[in-house]
């Protein structure tokens, strides 16, 4: 047992923290207010290898594994959830699917420009009536010579409208259901028949874009089948598992920043003649936050270690996601309460953090789905299959 970070991760964290402070924080309020993607940050991040942190250096990544990627997400989560979301959807799920199940040729062609940040990725699974329920996917892919023809639409796709390369799940055999009947495809934005639908107007993470994707006789070359034909379910489950751990890392950063901000505020805000930091209600709120954050930190980085060392991690990743998102919401909510009226004002970062945090309990599998994943894994260990 050794819980210290190797030195390369310490330096990596320091670099990312400075990057987050100097390059990301100054834009956080602006991109939220203007409802736009911080492309200038993405460009700078790409130059530092931050668009492909977990991927090996031979694919143009940083070779920092899930651990390094979690560090990035934690530090970005402290300053701007939108930026963390854009980079997270690109790296953690969009490009990740290609890294996990792509052929060497696909990695050469698609992963390299993604890892270097030249191109942006998205991951398209969710549909209007099929999010967590993959068996209900309606987008169809039908073979036509050397092509598959895709028809259908995807919704709530983070980076959907800015992505160059999109990993898309479509039904190839409706008789087989989720297992065996769904295949993953790599779709380029220029493929004929692919278009962007409406953009969502969201409560938070307004510096990231969420789009509807439309496939109308969209022709995808057969070599763009990602992973085994019919095994799309496995591809996206593996991808989402990894995405969940890093998403929790962003939540960890958000929670930590909220706690530190609340402490600084409590030290200067006086009521009844003393700083509110002298009030026990504040002490207990801070103590609860710190305890949950510490537990979350251990959970996140242990799960990252499981992933980096190739060990089973499905259950732990789901725990990260449900616990991380709920800790972040709770901490930011408590921080907002400590800020009082100031916390409700849009002049101040807490208000944005509060809106941003709420999505983490919802996207990439709601908290309810995570609980189902956790419970079904636990019951399976004792030999009982449960259905959602």
């Amino acid at each position: 047992m050794d819980f210290t970070f190797p030195k390369e991760y310490e330096l990596f964290r320091r670099m990312v923290r400075e990057f987050a402070e100097n390059e990301v924080r100054p834009l956080a309020k602006k991109v939220d207010a203007e409802h736009r993607v911080p492309f200038e940050t993405i460009k700078k991040a790409a130059k530092l290898g931050l668009m492909g942190v977990p991927f090996p250096r031979k694919y143009g990544g940083s070779g920092a594994g899930e651990t390094g990627y979690c560090i990035l997400m934690e530090e970005l989560g402290k300053v701007c959830t939108s930026t963390a979301t854009v980079i997270g959807a690109h790296t953690g799920i969009g490009a990740m699917a290609i890294y996990l199940d792509g052929t060497e040729e696909q990695k050469e062609k698609y992963l390299k420009p993604l890892a270097s940040g030249e191109k942006i990725a998205a991951f398209a699974l969710t549909e209007a009536q099929a999010g967590s329920d993959a068996a209900a996917i309606k987008t169809r892919a039908v073979r036509d010579g050397d092509y598959y023809v895709l028809n259908g639409s995807k919704c709530f796709i983070t980076n959907g409208d800015i992505a160059d390369i999109i990993t898309v799940m479509a039904v190839t055999d409706p008789s087989l259901g989720a297992r065996g009947g769904v295949t993953a495809f790599i779709v380029e934005k220029g493929f004929p028949g692919f278009s962007i639908g409406t953009l969502e107007n969201k409560m938070g993470i307004r510096g990231s874009s969420t789009a509807e994707l439309i496939f109308e006789d969209c022709r995808v070359p057969k070599e763009n089948v990602l992973g085994q034909f019919g095994a799309g379910f496995i591809t996206f489950m593996k991808t989402l598992d990894i995405g969940r751990a890093s998403l929790a890392a962003a939540c960890l950063g958000g929670a930590q920043a909220a706690m530190e901000g609340a402490m600084r505020w409590a030290a200067v805000r006086s009521q009844f003649g003393v700083p509110i930091a002298q009030k026990q209600s504040v002490h207990f709120a801070i103590a609860d936050m710190a305890t949950e954050i510490e537990a979350l930190r251990s959970l996140v980085y242990r799960t990252a270690w499981l992933i980096d060392t190739g060990q089973p991690h499905v259950k732990e990743a789901a725990m990260c996601k449900v616990y991380g998102s709920e800790v972040a919401s709770r901490c930011i909510n408590r921080a907002l309460q400590i800020f009082g009226g100031m916390g409700y004002s849009r002049e101040f970062w807490v208000e944005r953090a509060f809106r941003d945090a709420r999505i983490a309990e919802i996207f990439e599998g709601t908290s309810e789905i995570q609980r189902i994943v956790i419970a079904s894994n636990l019951f399976r260990e004792m030999g009982l299959r449960i259905s959602p």
Partner: protein, 258 residues
């Protein structure tokens, strides 16, 4: 073209607080960072490398922990790193380190340019550049802000009074770079991993440099430290804006500031 950049390390100022009242330094987190001005020097070297064919070598002398500073410099873009350390080098002072660095640079050999940060942030030590120039017998330009090279001629922009001067320098030469001359690049994520996992820092001890403990005996001796007196608040002017402005002008005139 071979460029050598010496690197020094300081205690991270964000990790301690100075209390003049208690005459004490409270260290909350003992972490060392590259002397910021040395990062300016490295940035000048790396931008020369970006512009053409150049090899940037970083070198540091003193305590073993400088290894981290050198790896960070490699992550920023340096091609090779040399660490001069052993028990004797760890205990010497700035003059001893300068001598060791000069020997180390000679041993690396074939350099065209040495780029040094003008001073350290912690002790405002500005002797390394002049010392190395003297020892190695090369021309020195101080207060450097930018450098570029064409046809084998180095063009340097340096501070000159309230403005700048552009000078041409024959190689080999040594530049001391002004603090804040540029915004140093961040280390690259992938290079950080490689710096620790793939690349080596070449280590030499005092014997390798042909130096004895006597050669490296400190020339300076610490006698303790004192804190500057606390500054008192100035005079506060009150009244209407007109009155305050008039009073301010009056006071400035009285003090012959305007």
């Amino acid at each position: 073209m071979r460029i050598i950049v010496p690197i020094r390390q300081i205690l991270d100022p964000r990790g301690f607080t100075v209390s003049p009242r208690h005459e004490r330094i409270f260290i909350n987190r003992e972490e060392y960072i590259i002397n910021p001005n040395d990062k300016n020097a490295l940035e000048v070297a790396l931008s020369l490398k970006d512009a053409g064919e150049a090899e940037v070598i970083v070198i540091a002398g003193g305590q073993a922990r400088l290894d981290d500073a050198l790896r960070e410099a490699m992550a920023m873009g340096a091609d090779a790193a040399y660490l001069l350390t052993d028990e004797v080098l760890a205990k010497t002072d700035a003059a001893g380190v300068a001598e060791a660095l000069a020997r180390g640079i000679e041993k690396i050999g074939d350099f065209d340019l040495i780029v040094v940060g003008q001073e350290t942030l912690d002790t405002a030590d500005a002797q390394l550049g002049p010392w190395l120039a003297e020892y190695l017998g090369v021309a020195q330009v101080g207060g450097v802000r930018q450098a570029s090279i064409s046809d084998g001629v180095l063009r340097v922009r340096r501070n000159w009074g309230a403005g700048y001067a552009e000078v041409e320098v024959a190689l080999p030469a040594l530049l001391t770079v002004a603090s804040g001359a540029n915004k140093p690049r961040y280390p690259h994520g992938g290079r950080i991993m490689a710096a620790y996992r793939e690349w080596q820092v070449i280590t030499w001890n005092s014997e390798d440099l042909g130096l004895t403990a006597a050669d490296l005996a400190p020339l300076t001796q610490g006698r303790g430290r004192a804190f500057p007196p606390e500054r008192t608040l100035g005079e506060r002017l009150t009244g209407s804006p007109q009155d305050v402005a008039a009073e301010l002008v009056q006071q400035l005139r009285l003090r012959r500031i305007i």
